[in-house]
Symmetry: C2
Subunit: 337 residues, 2 copies
Amino acid sequence: MKSDIILLGHGSGGKLSHELLDDLIVPILSGIGQRDQNDAAVLTQQQGRLAFTTDSYVVDPIFFPGGSIGSLAIHGTINDLAMAAAMPIGISVGLIIEEGLAVSTLRTILEDMSAAAEKSGVRILTGDTKVVPRGKVDKIFINTSGIGVMEHDLDISGHNARVGDKILINGTIGDHGMAVMASREGLALDSDITSDSAPLNSLVADLIHGVGGQLHALRDPTRGGVATTLKEIAIQSEVEITLRENSLPVGSTVAAACSILGLDPLFVANEGKLLAFIAPEAAEQALMIMRSHEFGKRAAIIGEVTSTNKGKVRLQTTIGGLRAIEMLAGEQLPRIC
Amino acid sequence: MKSDIILLGHGSGGKLSHELLDDLIVPILSGIGQRDQNDAAVLTQQQGRLAFTTDSYVVDPIFFPGGSIGSLAIHGTINDLAMAAAMPIGISVGLIIEEGLAVSTLRTILEDMSAAAEKSGVRILTGDTKVVPRGKVDKIFINTSGIGVMEHDLDISGHNARVGDKILINGTIGDHGMAVMASREGLALDSDITSDSAPLNSLVADLIHGVGGQLHALRDPTRGGVATTLKEIAIQSEVEITLRENSLPVGSTVAAACSILGLDPLFVANEGKLLAFIAPEAAEQALMIMRSHEFGKRAAIIGEVTSTNKGKVRLQTTIGGLRAIEMLAGEQLPRIC
């Protein structure tokens, strides 16, 4: 790259655009090869139903403990496909960059994307870059879309939670949201909070392999947190969910930071967690599968589907009461992902 | 919608996000149904190779003669798939909205997207919405990604232009770029310039049906215009291209506006045009197919592939000279798409 910063011309489609592509983007995101200058990537015929998803990432700051906007964008789209019980086969990357961004910053973000994709076994297939004048976007926003393939006929969906199902989570809650908040606000904590951003495709593959049709629903509790996600499923599946507060895994530093900021970890975003609704007879097996996976060591059964009382979520508190859980009403943490 | 403007909470994932989805987005983009709250859309197994593409749209202004950021985002991704000789089967929509955008503005943009998709016979399958604080993005940016299916074994690509091929375009050049520029700069012209933004999937289907394997390469001359696009193909296919200036279709108002602003229409963006490289024996037939299509009435043969002099593009000027064409060097028209 001849320039140290991104110029408007890098988004022109002309000579500088080709230089950015040839000297920086293609060497790092190697899946976006020369062929991609043909507007679209071509994939061989796939066996099975397809899943298709999109997400834009606007996280602030763009680097935080445990990740960056780059790794987050790859993990997030992998996870959206995994939650549809689909194995990711390819990801697209749409970059919107503010004029003046340091090329070294862009390089680090692209390297994070490449490393995240490689570690997850997912290919980045195609991309697009736009540059807008200073002040028209904040540093960089990234869209990732993804295609996955479903090599099974299971109906794993938010409509399919059933009375009696146990609800499992693969670890502690609130880590991503509090890592971003602590880093944005410059909170001085005893120990750093690290984002849980992680790809969940292989954990989902293990669950499907292990318990198959006894896995009824999967969802990743991102924006809005565990509370909002469970409320969605309670509405979609027309059931009532009961959570046990003393079963919820919360890291001690996250709990402390939430307390300082007056936040409830149940509503804080996660980026490496999934909620699984499992038939009761398979719940212990699913828990063991989770705990033996790199991203499930602190997995727990946090509640169950208790009745067909449509759309209700109740929290059984540590002191023995029952609290109704509603969706997050306003904006708790803007630009968390 | 209870609010007249978009609030940060509409991007929270919580109650306001669900209200935006249920009251505005889903009713207009009906393909994004309730099921979509399952993170990803599910498609049946497809017969044929797949094409996958992504594009972000940051056009300024968001409404211009002949379209809006909404219709442009749909047409653009349809066209990227069509240029890979794939028929679009589904599109994703990622919205990044500035806090404070009028809900009525968003409604119009979504209606434009819906109408463009419907007119093209393409389904919008899945979406994502982020809201960022005022000043962190300019009004609205939209990413669209798309999946297409190739129901043939043809190799239609920018690597496949061959010596002797005729180069066809389906109409006048520079309309989109000059419509956006004129509207941005408030140019007073004798008559309005209208963007050529249009979906080219059915025109491409007609060409494939009519001339099949004699269609060697397709590319839409968007950012960087016809000149940059031809230069790309000359490099990829390792050939020399010769254009005839007096064959290039340019509208008179576009020519006048280019002249005022000191721009060359060969470098100005189009959003409803394609360049087709056709074996010489099929060129007249392809021209007739184009001219009988709604989006090809002013189609023309504008040049040919003249030798294996790698990566050269030459313009035979009206006065008889030969001018070498290079890629656009800097940024001619920022935020044109």
